[in-house]
Symmetry: C2
Subunit: 222 residues, 2 copies
DNA sequence: GAAGATTCTTGACACTCGTCAAGCCCAGCT
DNA sequence: AGCTGGGCTTGACGAGTGTCAAGAATCTTC
C-alpha cells in the first residue's frame, strides 16, 4: 500500500511519512549500534521505538530497505564532521591538533555508530545488495578525509605524497584499530590514536627540500 | 558425552578426534568465508562437509566453541605467511617487492578468508565472548607485520618511525580497502595495493640524515 | 563372529525470524 | 452525528535456527 520511494500520496502528509521513517531509522541505528547487524531483528528495533513491530512493514517494504535507508540517513549526519576543523584552522599544526581532537571525540562519543558502520561495510562483502550504498558512503568519507589532508598540505606549503584513497585507507586503519581497542575497554586508545595521527600526518607531506617518492593514486575509479 | 577440551579418553583416538574437529573447522571456514558470520548456520556448515548437522554437536559443545576453534585454526595457517619473504630478502628493495607481491597474492587467493577475518574481528566489538580469541590473533598479525617492517628497516640501515601497532594499523587499513574493492570486482585493486605499499613503506623509515619526528608507540599494552 | 564402544543419522523440540493480513483506534470531513 | 480512511496493533503463518536425544551404523576388541 505504501508509495514508491518517499512520497506517499498527493494529499500532502509527505513530511509526516518521512518523519516516521526517520524516527524508525533512528531506533534502528541505535539498536544496530548496540547489537550489530547479525543480531538485530525488526522486533528489537520496534521495541527500541515507541511502535510495535508491524509498523516497520508499514513504512519499509522489507528489512533491507530499512537497513539501506539507515545507512544513508547515518551518512547525512556524519560526513561533515571535520569540515569546521578544516575551515577554522589557520596553520598546519592547528589543523592537525583540531583533527586529532575531533578524532578522539568521535571515538569517545560515537563508538557504537562507527562499529556499526564497519559492520555494515563488511557485510557488503557478503551481501551484494548492500554494496552500492556502502560504496557511496565510503567514497564520501574518503573525500571528507581528503579535504583534511589536502588542506593540511596547503597550510604547510607542501604537497601530499599520497592520493585520496591511500590517505583514507591509512587513517581509517588507525581509527579502526583504535576503535577496536576502545570498545574492548582500553581507555588509552584515545591518546594513542591522537599520537599516531600526529605522527602520521607529517609523513604524508612531501619534504620541502627534496623530491621524494609518492604513494601513487589509483589509476582509475573502477 | 564428549570429552572436555581436545582429548577424548585414554584409549588414544586423540588424533582421530582432532582430525574430525579440524575437518569440520575447514568446512566451517569455507562456509563462513562464503556467507559471512551473520548468515552461516550449523546446518549449512554440515552441508558443506560430508557429515550431517548432528555431528557438529558431537564434536563441539555449541556454535560458539566451533567459531572460536575456527578462528584459532585459521590463525595457525596464516600467521607465518610473510616469514619466507623476510628470511629470503637480502636488500630492502627485495624485501619490499616480495612483501608487496605476497600481499597481492593473498588478496587474490585468500579473499574469502580475509573478509571472514574482518567480519569476526568486527563481531568481537558486539560479542564480548569473541574478544579474547580475536585480540590474540590480532596481536599475532601485528607481530607478523612488525617482523616485516623492522627487518625492512634493518636492511635499509635505518630506523622505523612507527611502533608495531601503528605500522600494523596503517598496512591493515590499506589491505582492507583493497579487499573491499577487490571483492566488489575491482581487479585493479591488486596493483593499487602494491603501489600504495611501495609508497608507504619508505615513509616508515626515519630519514638517514636528519632526526625526524616519530609516530609514538603506544605507551602500554592495555 | 559376538559384544561393546564409538561415530554418525534422523527426527524432533522450542524458539526466533521476516512477513503479512485482519481489524482497532481516532482525526477530519460532510 | 456518522462515516471514512490512514495509522497502528495484534496475532498468526511458514521457514529457519541451535540444541539435543534416541537409535542406526560402523569400528574395535576379545
Amino acid at each position: 500500500m505504501a508509495a514508491s520511494t518517499t512520497t506517499r500520496n498527493r494529499t500532502r502528509p509527505v513530511d509526516k511519512y518521512d518523519e516516521r521513517r526517520n524516527q524508525l531509522a533512528e531506533s534502528a541505528l541505535a539498536t544496530l549500534g548496540e547489537l550489530g547487524y547479525a543480531k538485530t531483528s525488526l522486533r528489537e528495533i520496534a521495541n527500541n521505538s515507541e511502535f510495535t513491530h508491524g509498523v516497520v512493514h508499514y513504512y519499509f517494504r522489507d528489512k533491507f530497505e530499512l537497513i539501506v535507508y539507515c545507512v544513508r540517513y547515518y551518512k547525512a549526519r556524519c560526513v561533515r564532521r571535520y569540515d569546521d576543523v578544516v575551515a577554522d584552522a589557520t596553520t598546519a599544526d592547528e589543523l592537525l591538533d583540531g583533527f586529532a581532537a575531533k578524532l578522539r571525540q568521535t571515538l569517545r562519543e560515537e563508538a557504537p555508530m562507527h562499529r556499526l558502520w564497519y559492520d555494515l561495510r563488511n557485510q557488503s562483502m557478503f551481501e551484494e545488495s548492500l554494496r552500492e550504498a556502502v560504496t557511496t558512503i565510503d567514497r564520501t568519507l574518503e573525500e571528507m578525509i581528503w579535504r583534511v589532508v589536502s588542506r593540511y598540505a596547503e597550510l604547510a606549503g607542501r604537497e601530499p605524497v599520497t592520493g585520496p584513497a591511500a590517505a583514507y585507507g591509512l587513517l581509517d586503519g588507525l581509527f579502526q584499530q583504535a576503535l577496536l581497542g576502545y570498545v574492548a575497554g582500553d581507555e588509552t586508545a584515545l591518546e594513542t590514536l591522537s599520537g599516531q595521527v600526529h605522527g602520521l600526518m607529517p609523513l604524508l607531506l612531501r619534504p620541502a627540500d627534496q623530491a621524494g617518492r609518492t604513494v601513487p593514486a589509483p589509476q582509475s575509479r573502477s
